[in-house]
Amino acid sequence: MKNSLEILAHELFLQQSVQYGQDYVEYEPSNTSTFNDLSIYNLEDWYNNLMIKYNFLNTAQDNYLYSFFDALNYVLLTINPDKLNNIKDGSIEGTDLLIWRESVNGISQLIFDEYGQITYLFNGNDGSKQKGIFEGEIDMQKLLLRFLSK
């Protein structure tokens, strides 16, 4: 049985194949592919920078962030990262880490808050909205799939 990371990679491949057609078929993975400002080489730097930049993060936030990084690291080695949109970071209320990305459909957000919750938000450009609040044992791979899929 495939694990959820394999499913994630497969689904992203299918989405990109449909979206980018011939370009995607011709794509050959290389170690220098960039995820816009992220790259496979410097993903670890990105994670370390987050830990320095947002040094207010508590243990729960640290753990979730590492789990997110771990799942993202796998995905970046498997798909064409050039075809994904920016992932950006920021903070809200001084205590929450915000990871967000914008696509043609709208804006996806993951908020790692001080209470050990991860809140997933999606605001569609058409006015549609989704929200999920998770804590405890979170399947980060599935959450990453949701975050990257829209």
Binding site: I92, L98, G124, G127, K131
Partner: protein, 186 residues
């Protein structure tokens, strides 16, 4: 309500004009924002000073860039420079006289977002998204004690309010029927 700012056009002075509680489908609101904030609005903003201009469906009289007038007295800047304007169109009020959205966290905690006409002396079309928590209107003075409480419940309430407001700016539309789809599993 007397306006003492000479550079504000007379038709924008409130003077004896009436409060218009009713908003209209098709009416537009204009929100002044910094570059980048229009796309990712309200994320960092405190949730009490969310003001807009309405246009009463009179595009030629109440223009979009009126929202750039500075209505603060004794300030040398007449107009805000380098800011963008987000435009929101009211598409559906679901039979109500204005936009009213209830956000319920649980039986003990809920908030209401209500669009209200709130004229000030030098800006008649000034309007606000008024937020009340358990029937108490949030203001700059009570923000800390009413909405900015340090608990998971209140954090989730603030997040939900921000999502409602940012979604309106992002989509450019106000629709009372648009509901949040709740995701229970990642």
């Amino acid at each position: 309500m007397t306006c003492g700012l000479d550079y504000i056009p007379k038709h924008l002075h409130t003077k004896d004009k009436p409060l218009i509680e009713e908003f209209y489908e098709g009416e537009k609101l204009f929100y002044r924002c910094k570059e980048g904030e229009c796309e990712k609005p309200y994320n960092k903003k405190r949730l009490y000073d969310i003001s807009h201009n309405r246009n009463f469906c009179e595009e030629n009289t109440y223009k979009k860039d009126d929202v750039l007038y500075n209505v603060i007295e004794n300030d040398p800047e007449e107009r805000y420079q380098g800011l963008n304007i987000a435009e929101l169109k009211i598409v559906n009020l679901n039979g109500s006289f204005t936009y009213i959205k209830t956000i319920e966290i649980n039986k003990e905690l809920s908030a209401i977002i209500k669009l209200k006409h709130a004229p000030i002396p030098c800006m008649y079309p000034h309007s606000v998204f008024e937020i009340s928590v358990n029937d108490v209107v949030v203001t700059p003075d009570n923000y800390k004690t009413v909405l900015d409480k340090g608990s998971k419940m209140y954090k989730n309430l603030r997040t939900s309010i921000r999502q409602e407001l940012s979604s309106m700016i992002q989509s450019g539309s106000i629709d009372s029927d648009e509901e949040v789809e709740i995701i229970n599993e990642p």
